[in-house]
């Protein structure tokens, strides 16, 4: 038992609210307001995990986002979350947590045994071995993977939800410590729309721990309450706790994640509320007040459980009423840690303080410690910590005053806890996410943000290296006042008054020497989570990994889930020493989002499940449901695929649908086709330019099939366009291509031919389209419509008419994608379902049969009609598709893609061209996507001639048919080719791709 509870005035836990929780299946008691870390420490639990590489015992080091070791698995089943930092988990009644490392157990870890050979595992040792025998690598890797990794990924779907919230505000303040609170107060008073976010449950930052300072005569937390009360009274200010700004993007777009319910017991969470919320904040002005984090010193075995940062020990005491030990050694190189020592001593903890500085802290601090009975060891540093799974003592050495060398041995102290402070590191991450660079401050020994910040980003408080509260608030006041002036607002009030205190300069020391050459003594860890020791950095540089990015990547320094918050500066400093360069020249690695990890769920927000993507339905969808349609996803649309009768499979249903359509009448929902209204005096000219075929001579009341090419000469879309009037056309596009084509028309018109008087308006959603197909379709239409003459000569194939169908105004086009006599009825989509049902009624006498996309595909294939995207792939020209008839090479204007058709390769031989295939065995349906060979020799690499694009059993022909693209196909009719799929090849004959009614009698009937 090391840690224990001590009553502290102003502690942030609620002793009236005891809670119980489990860690590794053991029940413990703690209080509401605890974090999992403070609760474990209060219960004397020190061993929390095993290290990544060597399996060394590890405990809690920090008290917040900087924690590298205490990665735990929270909860089980669907609610489990891997890799949370115990220091950031708010305790709630019944919380279940477990360690994420240690095999077979945390206490006895096999990797720990292996770790004893750690000296043979330098940085990058993976790269240097496991190469022989070649075959063995997968085995090595299996175990390497097993050994790596912390928590377990959840296996059940997430039962909780997430959302997004967009903000457009004047000022965003990041950080709710003293500086942030003051900045928000000033911005709020000036009437600016202001948002203040802080990652913790409570505002206050370091004031939550530090108890001595008085601001405007108030205790720190009283001042915080005063600020919060004032902010709450300002309607233009919002304050969000538990909200971490994790990324800053261009133009001050900040992403912040708010933990709305993670702090509640699972049983008390509100299902109507999201678990977490992603805030996307556009702020004219960002004020970074993200403070600073204390880094530890680097010394031998500084990773033994019981070694922590001084700030952590201080915070556990004052915030959570937990003394982390009974005999505590504080090791420092600066004044701040004296505060921790003093508070601990005043609580009756036996405290010793070793200061790397010969002179120690400011006299008044030394005096305070002495009178509190703290033993002071000036000019001393820890050579190594004693103990295995828990600290049992520390071996000190005497340090030289100037260069960091050992000048004599020091005492061997028996302590159960070591707190170390290597000074503060400014939290500059957000400032650097989109290109800002921090600057090295040699006085404060930290990379800090420049006072001037940068465009619309102000930096206030400790982030600028102002460690002393008085300076921090003074600089904050000045910076924010200047900013408000920039917004044409004055600032009200003076800077809060805080008594300034005498401070002695910190010592520029990061790695405490132990008197031995680096690598010879006890491992001194820089990055706990990745097991990077000081010696590893020296080794990396020795091997010429000299760029700091190389050091980082070779040793994994700072690559952990703590993003190097404790380790980076120590690492840079040690690298600088090894390189013989000043730290400023070594620079930093790149800071990348996210500042702390963010759930995928929060990133995705509401765009999951049924709202992952748009699902588009036609107006007739209910009718298809009623008829038990099976559906196919086409683009964003859901289209009927086939309409199975009880007991029918796809093929049975499709055979029936095809025969019914060819022999009597079928009906299909064609509403998804793109439709664009094209109107204007220059509409024809525009169509001439955008389509490959000619449009000058198409009379009103006539329709024409059109091919659209891209500038590369390849087919990009097709469809039938009807001429409604001389200057007015009804264009149709493929279902998937509708949006692309609409945009395509607009772009060419606006960018290349703005002089053409023509306009495009999408009508895809306005028209519901019923295709009535088959020899009896005319009679069905006649039953529904009296004001259109359906006589075969009055209303010819490829004619269009307007009239009244089933009592509704309709556009009727006699066009056919099946080769049958067919009509497409277009009506206002609000009547789509009505029209479908009326057609079904009228067709009942002819056994009218609804069909879906599969039958549509078969019928069109029987006629050799292509489907763009299935029979084409962006590499097919009209000529390749044997559709030169749809290319008006003589048109005066050089239509889109025309010139490309003349290029040597595009116009040359050996291109793949569309053909029909008849398997010699009519019962064999070729596999779509099968490759075509000239013979049965399939030794690789085989000379592939093309592939099967569409293949079906044709019930109408009583045999299988297929469409394919084949090298020089147009010249190969009659050839026998071999269609190869997954090792089997099937002979087939090359034929014309028109299998049914070559003369087109049926569609002209």
């Amino acid at each position: 038992m090391s840690g224990y509870r001590i009553h502290r005035p102003g502690e942030r836990i609620n002793r009236q609210k005891p809670v119980s929780f489990q860690f590794d299946n053991v029940q413990y008691k703690a209080f509401s307001g605890d974090t999992l870390a403070s609760a474990l420490l209060a219960n004397g639990v020190r061993l929390i995990g095993r290290s990544f590489k060597y399996g060394r015992p590890r405990g809690i080091v920090g008290f917040g986002a900087e924690e590298p070791n205490a990665l735990i698995q929270l909860e089980t089943g669907a609610h489990t979350v891997p890799d949370l930092k115990a220091t950031q988990v708010e305790l709630y009644q019944g919380l279940l947590a477990g360690s994420t490392t240690g095999y077979p157990s945390l206490d006895f870890d096999l990797k720990g045994l292996l770790g004893k050979f750690g000296r043979f595992m330098p940085p990058g040792f993976y790269y240097k071995t496991f190469m022989e025998p070649v075959k063995a690598w997968p085995v090595y890797e299996k175990y390497i993977r097993k050994a790596a990794g912390y928590g377990h990924a959840p296996v059940l779907p997430d039962p909780e939800s997430y959302d997004h919230l967009h903000h457009h505000i004047d000022v965003l303040v990041v950080g709710g410590g003293a500086a942030g609170l003051w900045a928000a107060t000033l911005a709020g008073r000036a009437g600016l729309k202001t948002l203040l976010v802080d990652e913790q449950a409570e505002m206050g930052g370091w004031l939550l721990t530090e108890r001595r300072s008085r601001i405007d005569g108030l205790s720190g937390m009283d001042w915080v309450s005063q600020r919060l009360a004032e902010l709450a009274s300002l309607p233009n200010v919002s304050v969000l706790p538990r909200t971490t700004a994790f990324a800053l993007h261009d133009l001050n777009l900040v992403q912040a994640v708010e933990l709305l319910q993670d702090h509640l017991p699972l049983t008390e969470r509100n299902a109507a509320l999201p678990r977490q919320r992603l805030h996307k904040i556009r702020a004219h002005q960002v004020i970074l007040a993200s403070g600073a984090i204390e880094r530890p010193l680097v010394f031998g075995y500084n990773d033994v459980p019981g070694v922590m940062t001084a700030a952590a020990g201080h915070s556990y005491l004052n915030r959570y009423g937990v003394a982390v030990g009974r005999e505590v050694l504080v090791q420092t190189q600066n004044d701040a840690a004296y505060e921790a020592a003093l508070d601990l001593a005043q609580c009756g903890v036996k405290v010793m303080l070793a200061d790397a500085r010969q002179g120690g802290a400011a006299a008044w601090r030394q005096q305070a410690l002495k009178s509190a009975g703290v033993e002071l060891l000036l000019g001393h540093g820890i050579a190594k910590v004693l103990g295995d799974k828990s600290v049992s003592g520390a071996q000190l050495v005497k340090l030289d005053g100037r260069n960091n060398q050992v000048v004599g041995s020091g005492p061997r102290l028996s302590v159960d806890t070591v707190l170390s402070s290597g000074g503060l590191t400014s939290t500059v991450h957000l400032f650097c996410h989109n290109g800002g660079r921090p600057v090295w401050n040699q006085q404060q020994l930290s990379f800090v943000c420049p006072d001037e910040g940068r465009d619309n980003i102000a930096c206030v408080g400790a982030i600028t290296g102002r460690w002393e509260l008085s300076e921090a608030l003074g600089q904050t006041h000045a910076a924010v006042a200047a900013l408000l002036l920039g917004h044409g607002r004055g600032s009200s009030g003076n800077a809060p008054s805080v008594a300034s205190e005498e401070v002695a300069a910190p010592r520029a020391i990061f790695r405490l020497p132990d008197g031995k050459p680096e690598g010879h003594g006890a491992k001194a860890f820089v990055d706990y989570q990745n097991d990077v020791a000081a010696a590893d950095i020296h080794t990396a540089i020795r091997e010429n990994y000299r760029s700091i990015e190389h050091v980082k990547r070779y040793t994994a320094l700072g690559f952990g889930t703590d993003q190097g918050k404790l380790s980076n500066i120590n690492g840079f400093a040690i690298a600088a020493e090894a390189l013989g360069k000043p730290i400023a020249e070594v620079g930093t690695t790149t800071y990348r989002p996210s500042y702390t990890p963010v759930t995928f769920g929060a990133l995705a927000g509401p765009h999951v499940g049924e709202t992952f993507d748009v699902r588009r339905y036609t107006a007739m969808h209910a009718s298809h449901d009623a008829r038990k349609a099976e559906y196919e996803v086409v683009g964003q649309w859901l289209r009927p695929w086939y309409f199975p009768k009880p007991g029918e499979d796809l093929h049975a249903a499709v055979n029936r649908e095809c025969l019914a359509t060819r022999n009597s009448v079928g009906v299909m929902d064609a509403s998804t086709l793109g439709k664009i209204d094209v109107k204007g005096p220059d509409a024809r000219e525009f169509l001439n330019r955008i389509y490959s075929n000619a449009w000058s001579k198409l009379d009103p009341g006539k329709c024409r099939y059109g091919l659209m090419l891209d500038e590369n000469g390849m087919v990009m879309d097709d469809g039938v366009t009807a001429c409604l009037a001389d200057d007015h056309f009804h264009m149709t596009t493929t279902t998937g291509g509708a949006a692309r084509v609409y945009s395509w028309l607009e772009r060419w018109h606006q960018t290349e031919w703005p002089e053409l008087k023509v306009r495009f308006t999408t009508t895809t959603d306005h028209w519901a389209t019923v295709a009535v197909v088959g020899p009896d379709s005319r009679q069905v239409l006649q039953k529904l419509c009296t004001d259109i003459d359906f006589d075969k000569d009055a209303f010819k194939f490829m004619d269009g008419r307007s009239g009244t169908v089933a009592g509704l105004p309709a556009r009727v086009f006699r066009i056919s994608f099946s080769g049958e006599l067919a009509y497409e009825i277009n009506v206002d989509a609000n009547y789509g379902r009505y029209m479908w049902e009326e057609v079904m009624k009228a067709g009942a006498a002819f056994n009218i049969t609804p069909y879906g996309t599969e039958t549509m595909h078969v019928l069109r294939a029987e006629k050799g009609f292509i489907i763009v995207g299935q029979d084409t792939d962006g590499s097919m020209s009209p000529n390749d598709l044997a559709m030169s008839w749809a290319v008006g090479m003589k048109k005066p204007f050089s239509f889109l893609g025309k010139r490309s058709l003349l290029r040597s390769h595009t116009a040359g031989d050996g291109r793949k061209q569309l053909v029909g295939l008849l398997p010699l065995d009519p019962k064999v349906v070729l596999a779509e996507g099968a490759q075509i060979l000239s013979n049965t020799d399939d030794t690789v690499p085989a000379a592939m001639q093309g592939h099967v694009t569409s293949s079906y059993h044709s019930a109408f022909l009583g045999r299988s048919i297929a469409m394919a693209v084949l090298k020089d196909g147009s010249k190969r009719e009659g050839d026998t080719v071999f269609v190869w799929a997954h090792g089997k090849s099937v002979p087939a004959q090359v034929v014309s791709s028109v299998f049914v009614d070559k003369e087109g009698v049926r569609q002209h009937a």
């Binding site: 939800s161 959302d163 997004h164 919230l165 967009h166 903000h167 457009h168 109507a272 509320l273 999201p274 996307k280 556009r282 509401p606 765009h607 049924e610 709202t611 993507d613 748009v614 699902r615 588009r616 339905y617 036609t618 107006a619 969808h621 209910a622 649309w637 209204d677 109107k679 204007g680 005096p681 007015h728 008087k757 306009r759 308006t761 999408t762 009508t763 895809t764 959603d765 306005h766 028209w767 519901a768 009296t786 009244t804 089933a806 009592g807 509704l808 105004p809 009506v827 206002d828 989509a829 609000n830 009547y831 789509g832 379902r833 009505y834 009326e838």
Partner: protein
């Protein structure tokens, strides 16, 4: 006139949610109140403001001044006319009236040989009304636009999730969200999902005498349906 025996019925884009079944009288609680305004008439109006006569004709036929500012909405008891693009506007009114208007407009455009047209979009669009104290917050959950900044009498065309919508603000009470038929299912699910934290309820919407949009709700008489 309809052929004997035909009894055409309309189904609005949100018909399948059977909103009327769950609709209730709106109350002043914290909830988000929402419903569809079904079966209104919509027409896209295209024209060139530089052409003499165009704006006048529109005003003369519809009684609505042609809005020339981006996002401006002109409104009257008979409907609204919204700016959607420099050469494009959207007319919303009662189906029957809209049919009359578009007939007159196209006739007038032809007569004056204007490069202008109307395109009936009544089947392709629908409107939902979104109200309640947090209705703007609901939009903020779903879209990147600064919805708090839309002035009265303006509309903005932007995205909610992956759908393009127009958000129309006529008063402080709520907004009208306009979207395409085939996106209606998605948009509705999105709104419902975003509103969940506040409570989501479908409210009864009835024709309000002089309201530019609610007034257009009067159920079209069967004979009108056929227009």
């Amino acid at each position: 006139m309809p052929k004997q025996g035909f009894q055409p019925f309309m189904e609005s884009p949100l018909h399948h949610f059977k909103l009327d079944a769950e609709a209730q009288a709106r109350r002043a609680d914290g909830r988000i109140w929402c419903n569809e305004l079904p079966h209104l008439g919509y027409a896209v109006l295209r024209g060139d403001t530089a052409e003499a006569g165009f704006a006048q004709l529109v005003q003369q036929v519809t009684g609505l001044a042609l809005p020339l500012q981006a996002g401006a909405v002109s409104q009257g008891p008979q409907g609204v006319l919204m700016w959607t693009s420099p050469d494009e506007w959207l007319l919303v009114s009662h189906r029957q009236r809209l049919a009359d208007w578009t007939a007159q407009l196209d006739g007038g455009f032809a007569a004056q040989q204007l490069f202008a047209q109307t395109v009936d979009s009544s089947g392709g669009l629908t409107l939902a009304w979104l109200g309640g104290t947090e209705h703007i917050t609901v939009l903020r959950h779903l879209g990147v636009y600064d919805f708090e900044s839309i002035p009265l009498g303006h509309m903005v065309s932007t995205v909610l999730g992956k759908a393009t919508v127009q958000v129309i603000r006529l008063d402080g009470d709520g907004v009208f969200v306009l979207f395409r038929r085939s996106f209606a299912d998605y948009v509705w699910r999105l709104l419902r999902r975003a509103a969940q934290p506040y409570g989501f309820a479908v409210c009864q919407l009835e024709a309000r005498g002089d309201h530019p949009l609610f007034a257009q709700l009067a159920a079209p008489r069967p004979s009108l349906i056929l227009a």
